[in-house]
Symmetry: none
Subunit: 418 residues, 2 copies
């Protein structure tokens, strides 16, 4: 198994503000991405409070499993910073003042022309035999110590200082993973089917133990298929990832709208520009969100002419020339209304495409016939008008109903242009 041939790494984040939930830890994810890129298998992240015993236990356990451990946080000058003490207990050596570290702290305060507090002197303490990691951004030097065959790198918790120090002083001396498996990843973003449905179509690719690793996550109705391939060199890893990506593309077809950070509006923008089409929008329940998404994309003035947010009923009739009959007969939330709005919008803006939304975003305003979450999306083009009915209310709140309605509309535009 490839697992065994990889070198293990772990991270430990220290801080009572983290264990109490006041702050979300972002250091572990940042470090994990760096370590994964360097070929390490990141086994675990541990978050412990500012207590020496907890820090000691976490460092010892991690050093027993991993070759590289990166600890962040708890190196400050105040009484609640206990990481150096916890590290000393874990390595079994007393803290001693490191002259290089003390000189470094002195020079920092000289550089910023501020007096050094006596408490900053504590930041020069390292377990005997350990060494300092230079910090060019702040007062707290890092510490590097060995426990058995594991190297423990301790960095400050401030993300900016931590990142610079990792890149400067940790990354360059990481052991080169000998039979290092180079990693290549592809992420295919899908819309229009459930996670389970997509999972079934590629179940064999996701089988446990198969290489490349293929997994699926769902976030706000966007399903992401992630392919993580490894190989002895970058070319081999990339070839393996590309082969799987091609296979996923083949099976999922137009469900895939883009890769990496591409969002639905980016895919729509690319199509509108390549097809040289313009678009206008008339929104009711989505209240501007559809136009906002379309104009999130830099350069959107190439295709986006404008929009109307027809919230009040009389705005629908006066601005979009929807006949009062439609409202009287079918109501503002109806297929007929979405259709009339789309036609009215297209003739008002003289755009190639016009897209409309009308619905009940809730939480109030629903009836048994027209429940919260009922949304009609209309799309008018030279080919005519198409309306889709969505039922989004069962599990979703107002913001989610609006988000899903907009995504459905963007996806309709995408499919129309394909």
């Amino acid at each position: 198994m490839t697992m065994l041939s990889r070198v293990n790494a772990e991270t430990i984040s220290v801080g009572t503000e983290l264990t109490c939930g006041i702050t979300v830890d972002t250091n572990a994810a940042w470090l994990a991405a760096k370590l994964t890129d360097a070929g390490f298998h990141v086994l675990r992240h541990t978050i412990v409070p500012d207590h020496e015993g907890d820090i000691r236990d976490a460092v010892r356990a991690a050093a027993g499993r991993a070759t590289v451990v990166v600890v962040t946080g708890g190196l400050g000058p105040t009484a609640d910073d206990r990481t150096r003490q916890g590290l000393a207990l874990a390595v079994g050596r007393p803290l001693v003042e490191d002259p290089a570290a003390l000189a470094h702290i002195h020079s920092f305060f000289e550089r910023v022309q501020r007096p050094m507090a006596e408490s900053n002197r504590l930041q020069a303490l390292v377990p005997r035999g350990a060494s300092m990691i230079e910090n060019t951004c702040g007062t707290a030097p890092g510490i590097r110590a060995m426990i058995g065959s594991c190297t423990v790198h301790v960095l400050p918790g401030v993300p900016r200082e931590m990142r610079i120090m990792f890149d400067r002083s940790v990354a360059p001396i990481l052991p080169v993973v000998a039979d290092r498996r180079c990693v290549a990843t592809r992420t295919l973003n899908c819309f229009g089917a459930s996670e389970a449905h997509i999972g079934e179509q590629i179940a064999d690719l996701m089988a446990a133990g198969r290489e490349p690793l293929v997994n699926i996550t769902a976030h706000k109705a966007v399903i992401r298929v992630r392919i993580i391939a490894s190989g002895p060199n970058p070319g081999a890893a990339k070839t393996a990832a590309d082969a799987d990506a091609q296979e996923v593309h083949r099976r999922l077809g137009p469900l895939v709208f883009g890769e990496g950070d591409t969002m639905l509006q980016d895919a729509v923008a690319t199509l509108l520009i390549s097809r040289k089409r313009t678009i206008s929008i008339a929104e009711s329940c989505t209240g501007g969100l559809l136009s906002k998404r379309l104009t999130d994309v830099p350069g959107s003035s190439a295709y986006f002419l404008g929009g109307v947010i027809a919230y009040a009923d009389n705005v629908k009739s006066t601005l979009l020339a929807v006949s009062a009959n439609v409202i009287a007969l079918h109501g503002a939330v109806s297929e007929a209304m979405a259709k009339e709005m789309a036609i009215g919008c297209r003739s008002m803006f003289l755009s190639d495409l016009s897209v409309t939304t009308t619905g009940i975003a809730g939480p109030g305003g629903g009836t048994p016939e027209k429940p919260v979450g009922l949304v009609y999306v209309g799309i008018a083009s030279a080919r005519g008008v198409e309306v889709r009915k969505l039922l989004l209310g069962d599990r979703l709140c107002r913001a989610e109903i609006r988000d899903r309605a907009v995504k459905a509309a963007l996806n309709m535009i995408r499919l129309e242009l394909m």
Copy 2:
């Protein structure tokens, strides 16, 4: 020490996307805040990949230290979801199909009128003797199992589902912590001054060691002043927090726009409703975002009549009756344009207030005279028209420029109504 008399809790987050650093785990912090509020001492968070052995080890170790363990993630229907298997190994019992869980999954798919994939059936498996935790938002039921005297609650990783299930089905049955110290918090949200400026006005309240604890954070131009008071009973803690909140209010005055989760649009909505005023919007560079924010608020149809997104120049003149002269003389991004748009919008929608934006959101389109980030915000009312010029381009990207412009517009509406 209160620490010893507290009851220990831990969290475990499962997901290879977390250990690889693709996703930042926010569940642990959310759960930790809830558990801390309930009087628990949160000892540790552990993050492990989707591997049964790692999940088993983490659950066993946590159950050995804590009375309550909450595990999130890895309950999905696809092959890479291994939490139920890991849990079964940790409790030492085989997985069996839970009829209640299966019925629950069936009823979910009936309710949303979609066929159930065969793989969803796996989500009804629980270790023998364990019970299901109902999920009202998605397909994955949670699992509750005992290991010795520790209760392990397993919830889905999707934050929204996890949060609702924790509040509904975990929080009510948590053991009551006997001699807990009560905490009361207030959060005052401010807009219109820098973090440093606000910090200076309340520096004495923020002194280290002072009770209550007062701290400041800045996020996307909203400055939050947090007051955390503790006391032997809820009344004492609340009194202390309220006294500080009153003092902060007194010093910061109209910079404070609301408390807790209140956003600028909520404060604006409350004022519009209490003053019985209606509003309409004409946006250019913000492309729908201002209307979107105003309609984020449930019940926004009470005040929001509608809007126009005048992206193309000819839309500005045809729809908002801005004379071609204004564009020719001053350009589309100008004080005159913001003014004309506001007047045109107000007479088109017949609203009490009309607010407009025109600017250069970038990244392209800037010139030395009109740089990226230059935005004019106009507000028209019975009292006349006011235009404010913003320069937001120095450090901000397109999305941030649009966000700040909309916040400035919302704040102008708020101050106009106060």
